[in-house]
């Protein structure tokens, strides 16, 4: 249940400060709310006196709770996560549950955006996340990953991303409400002209000074993560790309190198460039909105949050030695054995389902015959990929994307639907790999062509 005492004494002081900061954060929030006029949630009757329970009082109490946690953490008795919870979290951070779970969370965040962006709810979520973080820090495995100098900025970025996602969604919800009442968006109301000098330049100067000071302090406090001298024969285990490339590295696990390293990144770049030409929705220019641009919003958030951020988090925190999956509270055991015998679709088809050997060109046959045999061998995968990229778009145009097809015309629609399908192929492939150990749909190693 409890972590080793020597480790707890190791994190005692930082954790104490951490809880102190959380306490101050809540008290400052309470102060701000008090100055803006407190809101009464309910009233408590205590004998003759009636005490109104305002938001100020609630957050003062939350701050006080953190205030109590701080000295407890200092003397080595910080609040800890029960090991059952850790076990559940470890199991939930398996790849399939992580991907599908984050997809579900993404849907929930979209559907209930009005509820969770309400400031008290968002503040509660932030507090809970920070508390969970503090409680997890008592786990040596978790701390080893999160407090690694490489990963500290990524943890910061996760919170920063949460904040900006909240901010954008909050403003979009406000604007959508205003639009429903026939009012112009907030940005149109508040478009007062601001001068570059001094308004912008002064702001930039202050930001520059503050950031420089922050970076200096950071550089002094956290040592640069230098590793051993490089050696041709010794690859660090695990070998991780810089954090911003971890999504690409994760992609490389599921695709052939030229596919994941060349084709798909190029498609991502070209697809982003194509957006202005594919987008026919003239609304939402210059202000936040969701309901006026639902399709664009969902596609972008899916591509960014699901396929980029979740993959970076996965690569940073959940990939351990030998590129195996490890839960956040799991020891990085270099000898963890996972059954990962990957099977190509053609092997599934010929050997498992048809119960016969793979088609193979007789020895000594020419290159043309061999190629035909290879194509015959990979026929199921080729047909599947063909159906996915060629047959699905017309079906989409005839059903769910009927309006899009009418507005975009043939070429633009085909471009859009193929980009969309390409994007969707990544999670499909990932889940297929994790669930049924599918390696490649089309596997032609003879010509370096695998998909």
């Amino acid at each position: 249940m409890h972590s080793a005492p020597d480790f707890l004494s190791h994190v005692a002081t930082p954790l104490g400060f951490y809880y102190m900061i959380l306490c101050v954060l809540n008290w400052v929030a309470a102060l701000v709310m008090w100055r803006h006029g407190p809101k009464t949630y309910t009233t408590l009757k205590l004998g003759p006196a009636t005490i109104p329970v305002t938001n100020v009082i609630v957050w003062l109490l939350v701050g006080a709770a953190f205030f109590v946690c701080a000295p407890l953490a200092m003397i080595g008795l910080p609040p800890e996560l029960p090991s059952e919870v850790k076990q559940i979290v470890n199991e939930l951070s398996g790849p399939v549950t992580l991907t599908l779970g984050s997809l579900a969370l993404f849907t929930i965040l979209f559907v209930f955006r009005r509820a969770w962006t309400a400031p008290p709810v968002a503040w509660t979520i932030l507090n809970l996340a920070l508390l969970a973080m503090g409680m997890s820090m008592t786990d040596p495995n978790f701390t080893a990953i999160v407090a690694k100098p490489d990963n500290v900025p990524i943890v910061g970025l996760v919170f920063l991303l949460g904040f900006f996602t909240w901010l954008a969604t909050y403003k979009a919800v406000l604007n959508d409400d205003r639009a429903a009442q026939g009012l112009p968006p907030l940005e149109k109301e508040d478009n007062e002209k601001v001068l570059v000098w001094p308004d912008l330049v002064y702001t930039e100067l202050i930001c520059m000074v503050a950031l420089t000071a922050f970076l200096l302090l950071w550089a002094i406090a956290l040592q640069a993560p230098l590793e051993e001298p490089s050696s041709r024969v010794k690859t660090p285990n695990p070998s991780k790309a810089p954090w911003y490339f971890l999504g690409l590295q994760e992609m490389l696990v599921y695709y052939d190198p030229w596919m994941a390293g060349v084709v798909l990144p190029s498609v991502v770049l070209l697809g982003l460039m194509a957006i202005p030409y594919l987008d026919f929705n003239r609304k939402g220019s210059g202000y936040y909105t969701i309901s006026e641009r639902k399709f664009a919003y969902l596609v972008f958030q899916f591509g960014f949050l699901e396929l980029w951020v979740i993959l970076i988090i996965l690569g940073t925190f959940l990939r351990g030695p030998n590129w195996n999956f490890f839960g956040p509270f799991e020891t990085w055991d270099a000898h963890k054995v996972l059954a990962q015998n990957n099977v190509d679709l053609s092997q599934f088809f010929w050997i498992k389902w048809l119960n016969q050997s793979m088609p193979k060109a007789p020895t000594g046959s020419g290159a043309g015959t061999e190629l035909l045999y290879i194509l015959w061998r990979e026929m199921p995968g080729i047909l599947l990929v063909f159906a996915y990229f060629v047959l699905l778009p017309p079906i989409m145009a005839a059903t769910i994307f009927r309006k899009f097809f009418v507005k975009m015309g043939f070429i633009r629609f085909m471009l859009m639907s193929n980009l969309l399908l390409m994007m969707g192929s990544l999670p499909l492939k990932m889940v297929a790999r994790w669930s049924v150990n599918l390696k490649y749909f089309i596997s032609i190693p003879e010509y370096f062509l695998n998909f």
């Binding site: 490389l252 590129w323 990957n342």
Partner: protein, 363 residues
């Protein structure tokens, strides 16, 4: 801006007469176009326009400017010159100045400084090109200061084409230009065949630009050649691609020898492949993206730390993204009985090259 209004002959004549009678009062023709009209017509430019309108017809550029954009230094200079000339002309021959003053106002009501700056001087200057040298401005001013009597039909003829700005430009009386000096005259064109033949040479070295680009591409070409030469050094300090690793008896069955990994990048393995026991030299490069895998003795597999590709002891890929088995180097039994590895040749399983006898030594 004020819309252009076509003036009838009667309007022009009436304006001219009124001007002659009123002396210093502004010509009524000027009142009609909105932009450079006096105060009661256009409130925005009122103060300056009113002030300048009181002076004389010569002051028109000022009022025009007040309604229009900020004039450049060149505009001011030109306007000042035109002003001076027109003032002199007006004093000497008030009658002659009348059509001159009335017409430009009718012609260019829009308050564009470029078009209006010489307007007060005379139609010639008004419709000429914007930038003029001193002599041409003076010539134009003098020419217009004594235009002689203008008949009804002449005035109408002049006023008419003046309304569309573009055509006025073409037709306007441009001051006579001095005869072109020899160097300004276009050169006599060469005969067509000769030009065609020397055209390419002319492009190459005929101009400084051509010369510059030719030199640049020549330098670039030489540089590329030099870089290509640099790719083939005179002396290679690489380890030899052929080396001996010991006798076959040094490699017991089922053991992956790791001691050659650091220096030579090979794993000699005594392994059973397709029912045949053989010693092979496996290349220590992952076939996915080229990291160096590790041999995990406990799991009996090669495992790449970069993307998790796994290979059996014989080099066959079975997990992770690696699309094909690890490659083999050529190996043979040397004359002294030792195993000799040749790194200059590799053998790939998926191409069926592992059946080649030079990539294994049977034991």
């Amino acid at each position: 801006m004020a819309e252009k209004k076509k003036l009838s002959t009667a309007d022009i004549l009436a304006a001219a007469r009124k001007n002659a009678a009123g002396g210093a009062t502004p010509p009524p023709a000027e009142k009609q176009p909105a932009a450079d009209a006096p105060a009661e017509v256009t409130p925005p430019s009122a103060p300056i326009a009113a002030e300048s309108a009181g002076d004389s017809p010569a002051a028109t550029p000022k009022s025009a400017r007040a309604g229009g954009a900020k004039p450049s230094v060149a505009d001011i200079l030109a306007a000042a010159r035109a002003n001076k000339a027109a003032a002199g002309g007006a004093a000497a021959q008030p009658a002659a100045a009348k059509p001159a003053a009335a017409k430009p106002a009718a012609e260019k009501p829009a308050a564009k400084p470029k078009a209006d700056k010489p307007a007060a001087a005379k139609p010639a200057a008004a419709s000429g090109p914007a930038v003029r040298d001193t002599s041409s401005i003076l010539a134009a001013a003098r020419a217009a200061s004594k235009p002689g009597p203008v008949s009804k039909s002449e005035a109408a003829a002049r006023a008419k084409p003046a309304v569309p700005a573009k055509s006025a430009k073409g037709e306007s009386a441009v001051p006579p230009m001095p005869a072109k000096p020899d160097y300004a005259k276009p050169k006599a064109t060469k005969e067509a065949p000769q030009e065609e033949r020397r055209f390419f040479l002319g492009v190459l070295v005929g101009s400084f630009l051509g010369l510059g680009f030719s030199t640049l591409s020549a330098t670039g070409g030489l540089w590329t050649l030099a870089v290509l030469r640099y790719m083939f050094p005179n002396v290679l300090t690489e380890p030899p691609s052929k080396f001996k690793i010991g006798f076959p008896s040094d490699f017991p069955p089922g053991v992956v020898e790791e001691k050659f990994k650091a220096q030579f990048g090979i794993w000699p393995v005594n392994v059973e492949y397709k029912g045949q026991r053989q010693i092979v030299a496996i290349k220590t490069v992952c076939t996915h993206l080229g990291c160096t895998p590790n041999w995990l003795e406990a799991e009996q597999k090669f495992k790449c730390p970069c993307h998790g590709s796994g290979f059996y002891k014989d080099g066959i890929n079975f997990e992770g993204p690696a699309p094909r088995p690890l490659e083999r180097y050529a190996i043979r039994l040397a004359d002294d009985g030792q195993l000799e590895v040749d790194k200059s040749r590799t053998f790939q399983e998926e191409l069926g090259q592992w059946s080649d006898a030079s990539c294994f030594v049977s034991v």
